[in-house]
């Protein structure tokens, strides 16, 4: 009989244990709903949003796709798709860029959504202030990510061109279509204005007021608002001096911030910029500097020293007497003994000089443009350089483009710069003969549709509202 009781008790226990088996919550994660309830929580989420921002993807694409790199001695197929310009809608690189930037936007939107729902009446003044700063940064981050997307996925910067979906809410199952470039810029500028009104001074590894000015200047130039570009650039030029030669070298070792407006902090937890060219474990180079870029560098220019690791073979390269077999890139030399680990200097005052010069040239102020360029060259050579003498807009733009190539090499500008100036130069991507051949094309015509990346096939497949870019959509 005792046994019977035990059985009955067991059966009863089983029913009692039912909820124990069926109601189980995650431990390693938290349910998103109501997860971010304090400013401290939201601060953690902002950190997560920043962490998703990976401008290295565009730096990588821009460097490999254009004429600044060639395959290195240790290449085992790395970057072939980009370098040989065989990108299609199914290419991983396209999906990575698109997904990664929209992840930033998603996380920024979640931060903004959480700020909206928080009950601020119970917060301290310091907490309220902190929330405002978080909000400003999230808005600026959202603007920056949308801007970066435009530079590769929009076929042009005219207001009527196809843009990308401008997303200011938390998308779950919605299927947003592409907004026009004008609408996306309107969203970006509205975010930037709102952020500018809130943001206080902060370290240059965070999106700050000066960054907003710098981004606005870049946007103004890209959209052809040249006068506005000059005035915005001038604001920053007045604030930030150009680095001298020593400071310039130190800047790339993350030891100097003289001319840095905003840089993306990179720590051992992040991808290493050196990984653009090297296996960071072994130091093997799968990409090297192109002969095209090398030929444009003057050994007296500090940028030669910053860009080229010229003592790899135990001596100094003389481009004439000792033509190099290998051109190892030093732009991301690493810091703290960590190979290739460096912050990404994304907005520098040097670029503002170049923006100003180009805007001047486009306005026909050729002499002024020459003066602006000369100021930058003087700083880089550490001595007074003869000012260039531009007689035509084409000549000015060509020279400024060359200056941008040297100054901003491997910082993610080359692709967009070649693209923006096609209408003036009449050139697409033209590689040095020594850098191309076989499967690696020597030229991409300025009219080629590949000057815009395709919308990833994964998005096309799922989202009927999205339109593919011309050339990729053969059906």
């Amino acid at each position: 009989m005792k046994k019977l009781f035990i059985y009955i008790a067991s059966v009863a226990l089983l029913f009692a244990g039912c909820r124990d088996a069926t109601d189980i919550l995650p431990v390693d994660s938290v349910a998103a709903e109501g997860a971010l309830t304090t400013p401290e929580d939201i601060d953690l989420a902002l950190s997560g949003a920043y962490a998703a921002y990976n401008p290295q993807l565009i730096i990588q694409f821009s460097s490999r796709f254009t004429d600044d790199l060639r395959f290195g001695v240790d290449n085992g197929g790395q970057g072939t798709v980009e370098h040989n310009q065989t990108i299609n809608a199914g290419s991983g690189v396209v999906n990575n860029i698109y997904s990664s930037y929209y992840a930033v936007i998603n996380r920024a939107n979640r931060v903004l959504e959480a700020i909206e729902t928080i009950d601020s009446s119970s917060l301290t003044e310091a907490q309220v202030d902190r929330l405002r700063q978080i909000e400003g940064q999230a808005l600026a981050l959202r603007a920056l990510a949308h801007f970066d997307l435009l530079t590769v996925f929009a076929p042009g910067f005219a207001d009527g061109d196809l843009g990308v979906p401008y997303i200011d809410f938390v998308v779950i199952l919605e299927l947003p279509g592409r907004d026009s470039v004008g609408d996306v810029f309107a969203g970006i500028l509205s975010d930037l204005d709102a952020a500018e009104a809130i943001l206080e001074d902060s370290a240059n590894i965070f999106l700050n007021k000066d960054f907003i000015t710098a981004l606005k200047a870049r946007i103004a130039l890209y959209r052809g608002n040249n006068a506005q570009a000059i005035s915005l650039a001038d604001q920053l030029i007045a604030t930030y001096p150009l680095a001298d030669r020593a400071q310039y070298v130190a800047m790339y070792a993350d030891a100097d911030n003289t001319e840095v407006i905003f840089k993306a902090s990179r720590t051992v937890a992040d991808g290493r910029a050196g990984g653009l060219f090297y296996f960071t474990g072994t130091g093997g180079a799968f990409f090297e500097m192109s002969f095209g870029l090398f030929d444009s560098l003057d050994p007296l220019d500090i940028r030669y020293d910053v860009l080229l690791d010229d003592d790899e073979d135990g001596g100094t390269i003389d481009p004439v007497s000792n033509p190099p077999e290998t051109l190892f890139i030093k732009k991301y030399p690493g810091r703290d003994g960590q190979f290739g680990l460096n912050d990404l200097k994304l907005y520098r005052v040097a670029e503002q000089y170049l923006i100003k010069a180009e805007a001047q040239a486009r306005l026909g102020q050729l002499a002024e443009a020459a003066i602006t360029i000369d100021a930058l060259r003087d700083a880089r050579f550490g001595s007074d350089q003869p000012a260039p003498n531009y007689s035509t807009v084409l000549e000015a733009i060509t020279d400024i483009l060359s200056e941008r190539r040297k100054e901003l090499a491997y910082e993610g500008h080359r692709f967009i710069d070649l693209r923006r100036t096609r209408d003036i130069t009449g050139l697409g991507i033209v590689r040095n003969d020594a850098d191309c051949g076989g499967p690696t094309p020597c030229e991409l015509l300025p009219t080629d549709f590949k000057f815009t990346l395709p919308i990833p096939q994964a998005e096309i497949d799922v989202n009927p509202n999205i339109e593919q870019n011309p050339g990729y959509d053969t059906n």
């Binding site: 950190s47 997560g48 936007i105």
Partner: protein, 1017 residues
């Protein structure tokens, strides 16, 4: 010796009977329905303790009283009572339960269900097969059960599908139940298949419904050996020794001269710019790297099993050791197994306990199936036979194997110093792979405990209470050591750190508990109405925990010790900066999941002719939100035993003929992520090395049970004195609310979210047969043929929102079907690759949007096995062939060896010799000077991986103890066995079998030959 004792005892016992009864000696044979004599069948005098066992020929001799009744019984057969009626010879055929009635033998339910579609695999089919993973042993044995294995690592589990894939993303693998314990269905390397009495494969709703959720993919019910009541002590020793050999490569790579000339042609690698003489010089070395990387692995096993039974108790105990080396250096499995099964019974009470404790140690190589590998790791031993450069020398000048590399391979600088970058580079691949296999460690120790306690108590006449408690505990301790002296160690943690190397320790625990309580009522009314009614409740819980760390900088004196790890606090000056290169990495996870169910089963049988069963159950799962937590599933089934009808009485050639029909629903909850109902935030390293939180999943708060409706119509038959028997089943299984990681717009920051969408169907036919071709007892010759085949047609019926296609899933297509751009060969005019666009027009543009469904998929349309058993006197020969037809996969390994952009450091397939070289060339291989098109291959590398394989062949000879004067043993069996001996396939690689849709330098399964000995005392 034992037998003498036994006989002596028997004689002694018989003595009192001599004068008292009408003494009679009865002899005869006991055989199974296939005509095989049954060795060890029990022949017992009813209502006594007296009995004997049959010998190897199935014969017995017993002294009886002529009016008594004999009870014949054998493992997995129904006992048969035969009244002696004064006869002196009684031959009986014991029908296996698979043919007579199916008992779902897991003690948890203990219910007969003759209405279900069930296939049974018996002990003799799985014993002593030299494969360390039980699931793989089943391949080819059961109609509708397909086991695909992704790696030849000893103990590697396969992917099992029963009657096709029935979920998009949910778990499609069957539920595994061992002695009533719901065990991990993906891990068998620590279990001893010799302990198994039988395996039942439950394929339709009427069978699966009893097992409820997770049974949608079918159920595999394993019952281990119990021993027999009233049986003497039997001791069995078994041993096996063998060797595993590499499979035949069905592809060729270039010789040194060919490769160097090809490199010269396309201007890359060592051959670039060489003269004929220089090539001839270099080509004096022509290494076949597959000779270096494959080895002959040994297999050794020893096992002792003891069983015995008394009137009210029985037990089975076994102790085993198994050791198997893989066919490459550094791959092995070592296993110790222990089992004890005990059962006691009294009139009303029955208690059985099953317990197995196992310990195994596996050594792994850097193959594709291991960890997060892709197959493309340069230290993957199986990449080397493809890409290893033949003009590199495998040996040092002194004849020893070179495990570091050469100046030419980049591992050493010209001055002989080490070049860390080069040593880890592509050119050094063969040496790097050898180096890792030789100096580094990746092992896992697994402790696996499975136990169950099963009790029943007869409350009243016809009413039984039952309870079962089961637990499956698996603990894995992994150790990965990169030694300071190894090539990988040169750059671990960094190339600049003073101390090198790393050690990872990980601990993984998985505990699955189930508890079942039941009440059963069974009665017979008016002799012809058999009724059984049962009620159950069941509780399932799974607890998963893991943690581990990676430590860096191994002190060279203690590089095999955990204490050799350097503290994370240690500061080094590197490049003038203070660094902490040895900061360890920590990781871990924790999650639980659970199920609660209650269900009832009602069965009714009329006059052994008509049988009906109905079941109804409710399952609650932790996977789903409260409002969808419970799902209701049911099944109804029936069986008409036509052979028992009066009108069949004259049809003596019909031994059995029955029609089965079943219809019902089963649920599936397993989406591999336990918390799909929640949108989640997870901790992550944030910006600038600060802590952060990030959204980690989009949840679906409407998530609910996936439900499969299964319909089955089957025929069981046995004709001509049971010479020809088998079953034929037609089925159609439709899954609704199928779980799918549904793609979402990338603007959400995610790729997918879990949802119940769409509908898919598997329909097909299972056929199994057995034919006793020769059954000649006089000549002692028996030949038996058997076979099984499944045809399965998988079709996606709908997706969601009227979508015709989601990724590679298309309405009207099958799961696993390839959707690729069609490769159309090479333009003879210019050597460019050509494709077909979506409309079938030739184009030279590769556009992924031109992909179309190809009607070729990873899941075979036909699969099965067949074989023969021949027995002549003491000799036995049995073989099993398995096959899969109409299955495809992409050959990524071949693609690498046809990619000219890699030809500088990777050997190439001989097919590149056919590459286009001048206008007019008709070929499939484009002009190598145009570069590699590996990422624009479309279906160029989609290959038919159908195969026919001689899975198992055994030649044996059995000696009976009686043949010797002193009868040193009851029986001895010696045998030779071959595994995967022959393979026929068009697949261009080592092994056509795999569980992925693409191959990339996979670890092939071996051919294994063993010699074995079974001794019974």
């Amino acid at each position: 010796m034992k037998s003498i004792l036994k006989n002596a005892c028997l004689l002694f016992l018989l003595v009192p009977w001599l004068g008292m009864a009408q003494e009679l000696t009865v002899t005869g044979t006991v055989s199974d329905t296939e005509g095989f004599p049954l060795f060890g069948a029990t022949v017992q005098i009813k209502d006594t303790n007296l009995g004997v066992q049959t010998d190897l020929d199935g014969t017995y001799t017993i002294n009886v009283d002529g009016s008594q009744t004999l009870v014949f019984s054998y493992v997995s057969t129904a006992p048969l009572e035969v009244a002696i009626n004064g006869r002196s010879q009684i031959d009986v055929v014991l029908e296996s339960e698979a043919l007579e009635t199916v008992v779902i033998s897991a003690p948890i339910y203990g219910l007969e269900n003759p209405t279900a579609a069930v296939s049974t695999v018996k002990a003799k089919e799985v014993e002593q097969v030299p494969i360390a993973s039980l699931d793989q042993v089943l391949q080819g044995r059961v109609a509708g059960l397909n086991v695909a294995t992704g790696s030849g690592q000893p103990g590697q589990q396969g992917t099992i599908t029963i009657r096709g894939v029935n979920s998009f993303n949910g778990d499609s693998e069957p539920l595994f139940v061992i002695d009533g314990v719901f065990v991990d269905q993906d891990n068998f390397r620590s279990l001893n298949a010799n302990d198994i009495e039988d395996i039942q494969v439950l394929k339709d709703a009427s069978a699966s419904a009893l097992y409820g959720s997770r049974a949608a993919g079918g159920v595999i019910v394993v019952t281990t050996k119990r021993g027999k009541f009233n049986s003497p002590l039997t001791l069995t020793y078994r041993s096996q020794y063998g060797v595993s050999l590499k499979p035949d490569p069905n592809f060729d790579v270039l010789s040194s001269r060919e490769l160097l000339e090809y490199q010269r042609l396309i201007g890359t690698g060592a051959g670039n710019g060489l003269t004929d003489q220089e090539i001839a010089d270099l080509a004096q070395i022509n290494t076949d790297w597959s000779d270096i990387f494959f080895r002959n692995g040994t297999t050794i096993s020893h096992e002792i099993a003891v069983s015995r039974g008394s009137e009210n108790s029985r037990s089975f105990n076994s102790l085993g050791y198994f050791e198997q080396e893989g066919i490459t250096l550094g791959s092995s499995l070592q296993r110790f197994t222990f089992r004890t099964n005990n059962e006691v019974r009294s009139d009303r009470f029955q208690l059985s306990s099953q317990f197995t404790a196992n310990f195994s140690k596996s050594n792994f190589v850097v193959d594709r199936a291991r960890g997060g590998n892709t197959g493309g790791q340069l230290d993957n031993p199986f990449i080397v036979p493809y890409i290893g450069l033949p003009f590199q020398d495998a040996f040092n000048a002194d004849g020893s194997l070179n495990t570091f590399g050469t100046v030419a391979s980049g591992a050493l600088n010209a001055d002989g110093s080490i070049n860390a970058s080069g040593a880890n580079g592509f050119l050094n691949t063969p040496y790097l792979a050898l180096n890792t296999a030789t100096f580094n460690t990746d092992n896992e120790e697994e402790l696996r405990l499975i136990g169950s306690l099963d009790a029943s108590y007869e409350l009243a006449k016809n009413l039984k209470l039952g309870a079962l408690l089961g637990a499956d505990y698996r603990q894995q301790n992994g150790t990965i050591i990169t030694t300071p002296g190894s090539i990988r160690g040169l750059i671990t943690p960094t190339a600049d750190s003073d101390l090198k190397g790393s050690r990872q320790e990980s601990d993984f625990r998985d505990l699955r508990l189930n508890f079942n309580a039941s009440l059963k009522y069974k009665n017979t009314f008016g002799d012809v109405h058999d009724v059984t009614a049962s009620l159950f409740t069941e509780y399932n819980k799974r607890h998963v925990r893991s943690f581990g760390f990676v430590g860096f900088g191994l002190n060279p004196l203690f590089e095999q010790s955990i204490n050799g790890i350097t503290s994370g606090q240690v500061v080094e000056l590197q490049g003038g900066a203070e660094t902490r290169p040895y900061i360890p990495i920590l990781f871990g996870s924790q999650n639980d999941r659970g199920l609660f169910s209650y269900f009832g089963v009602l069965s009714y049988r009329y006059d052994k002719r008509y049988e009906l069963q109905a079941s109804l159950r409710r399952d609650g799962s932790s996977f789903f939100p409260d409002e969808n937590e419970f799902g209701t599933f049911y099944a109804v089934s029936g069986r008409w035993n036509i052979a028992n009808e009066a009108f069949m009485a004259k049809q003596e050639w019909v031994n059995e003929l029955a029609l089965r029909v079943s219809y019902g629903t089963v649920g599936n909850q397993e989406l591999f992520i336990p918390f799909g109902q929640f949108s989640l935030f997870s901790p992550a390293i944030g910006y600038n090395a600060t802590p952060g939180v990030v959204p980690s999943a989009i949840g679906n708060d409407n998530l609910k049970w996936e439900e499969t409706t299964q319909a089955n119509l089957g025929i069981d038959f046995s004709f001509f004195e049971n010479r020809f028997s088998g079953n034929l089943d037609f089925y159609s299984n439709t899954t609704r609310d199928a779980l799918l990681f549904r793609p979402v717009s990338l603007t959400s920051g995610f790729n997918t979210f879990p949802d119940n969408v769409g509908k898919l169907r598997n329909k097909g036919v299972d056929f199994e047969f057995n034919y006793a071709l020769v059954r000649n007892e006089a000549k002692q010759l028996f030949v038996n043929l058997y076979g099984n085949v499944n045809y399965n047609d998988n079709e996606i019926l709908s997706l969601f929102d009227g979508e015709e296609r989601v990724g590679n899933l298309g309405v009207g297509q099958s799961i696993g079907e390839f959707r690729l751009v069609r490769y159309a060969g090479v333009n003879p005019a210019n050597g460019e690759p050509l494709y077909l666009d979506a409309n079938g027009q030739i184009t030279n543009q590769f556009n992924p949007d031109d992909a179309v469904f190809l009607g070729k998929g990873t899941q075979p349309l036909y699969s099965g096995g067949f074989g023969a058993d021949v027995q002549y006197k003491g000799f036995g020969l049995s073989c099993l062939w398995s096959f899969a037809a109409e299955q495809y996969r992409t050959n990524g390994s071949l693609a690498v060896t046809e990619d000219p952009s890699l030809a500088g450091f990777a050997n190439q397939s001989t097919t590149v010799l056919n590459a286009w070289s001048q206008p007019g060339d008709i070929t499939d291989v484009p002009d190598p000077n145009l570069g590699g098109f590996r990422f624009q291959a479309g279906d160029r590398y989609l290959e038919n991986s159908s195969f026919l394989r001689l899975r198992n062949i055994v030649l044996s000879y059995t000696l009976r103890g009686e043949q010797f004067k002193k009868k040193p043993f009851a029986a001895a069996r010696i045998y030779m066995q071959g595994q995967n001996v022959l393979t026929f396939s068009r697949w261009r690689g080592f092994d056509p079998e795999t569980n992925t849709g693409s191959s990339f330098f996979d670890f092939p399964t071996a051919r294994t030959f063993t010699l074995g000995l079974d001794l019974t005392f």
